[in-house]
Symmetry: C2
Subunit: 233 residues, 2 copies
């Protein structure tokens, strides 16, 4: 895309947003068709299309193929959260990254992991726990199950040297996943690993990923006290 | 966009992803130019562009205007979180929504709110606290500051009937905002409002929004125990 094109859809975006903000177009209103807008604004229909798609993904517009495009009655804001490899997140804060493998063992999974990944209780899996540190302090405790059937090469990975988190990102790209964010009180064991007190409130990310219909990995990522995840919205 | 066009960029997307997954294109590799890909795949350059943009936003590609497009060395996954009006989130779960205003008073803001919104300590603000309920149980405790200078009509809003959350979404569209997710232990007062025990781990969203350079509102949204925020990734 050249910069002129980019400027052009951005300016259409801003003009449409101005009309929404000034209530020239009110919540629930049907807006003009793309061809009409293109004519009004003196640009290509594709440019209008790009701008309207962006505004829809931002939650300002509701687009329905047959019913046309309306100003959202109740804008749903969409936050975009970047989930980098944990080493890069720590280094991005200007902190020194370190990593320690706690254990790695081959075993059959507990019921909640079977349910998450859609595998049977007899599945051959690798259970890996590790600690990620920032400037020598515990940053995140990773408790992960990896399907050996789905990614057999995990058995060749040197998990003392590279975290399962990073190894999987590099060697087992996935097509879809789920992520849940929540808050939990630290158990005695979790508190010990993260060097805090039992009961301390901790931020938890639970991630499960698939390659098409095959469950790859399910992880519980528990962050040290004080962690905040930021997003522009 | 017609459905043929859509199918076409989706199929380019899937073909590029296949090449990344099979390591035909390895992490860090420079990929062919858009015109070359369009020729290879027998489609319009705009279609390739659309597919590559999507793959970049999904974290599979790094696009640099001059340096070209590379397979991401460390894919950054981007989670998209929908943040609807809280009433719609509760109704979307099939639960009955209720809302209670705790208090609304005009006063000058404390230092952390001044810092969040970039306003002075003498600013005229409305401090509103309220409780959102799902099926009669506390769901979320909202502690919010609203700039009266930025949105004077908030003084006419009947905050016994409509929550500040919903009123602001309908009447004060904003251009940008920040959101932070974290976990905190409930204070005695918070525990009482949310009918839980002090120290219970709670999921917290802190949101601050601006209209251009003007701070509109800053809110602390504290969810009852057990709340999980989901995203596809």
């Amino acid at each position: 895309m050249n910069s002129l094109e980019q400027q052009s859809w951005q300016s259409v975006h801003d003009e449409v947003l101005r009309r929404i903000h000034t209530r020239e177009w009110k919540p629930g209103d049907l807006i003009p068709k793309e061809v009409e807008l293109a004519e009004q604004l003196g640009c290509a229909r594709a440019t209008v299309n790009r701008a309207l798609r962006e505004l829809a993904s931002e939650g300002f517009l509701d687009r329905r193929r047959k019913a046309g495009t309306r100003v959202a009655a109740h804008p749903v804001r969409r936050a975009k959260l970047d989930i980098p490899v944990i080493r890069l997140e720590i280094e991005g804060r200007g902190q020194k990254y370190a990593y320690g493998l706690l254990f790695s063992e081959r075993r059959t999974p507990p019921p909640e992991i079977c349910a998450n990944l859609g595998v049977t209780a007899e599945s051959d899996m690798l259970h890996i726990t590790s600690l990620h540190l920032a400037d020598g302090k515990p940053f995140m405790f990773e408790d992960r199950w990896v399907s050996i059937a789905a990614t057999p090469t995990i058995l060749d990975a040197d998990l003392e040297k590279i975290s399962a988190n990073e190894w999987l990102v590099l060697h087992a790209p996935y097509t879809r996943g789920d992520i849940y964010f929540s808050a939990v009180n630290a158990s005695a064991a979790e508190a010990k690993v993260l060097r805090t007190d039992p009961g301390t409130s901790l931020f938890l990310m639970e991630r499960t990923t698939w390659e098409n219909q095959t469950g790859i990995t399910s992880a519980r990522l528990l962050f040290a006290p004080g962690y905040r995840k930021h997003s522009a919205i």
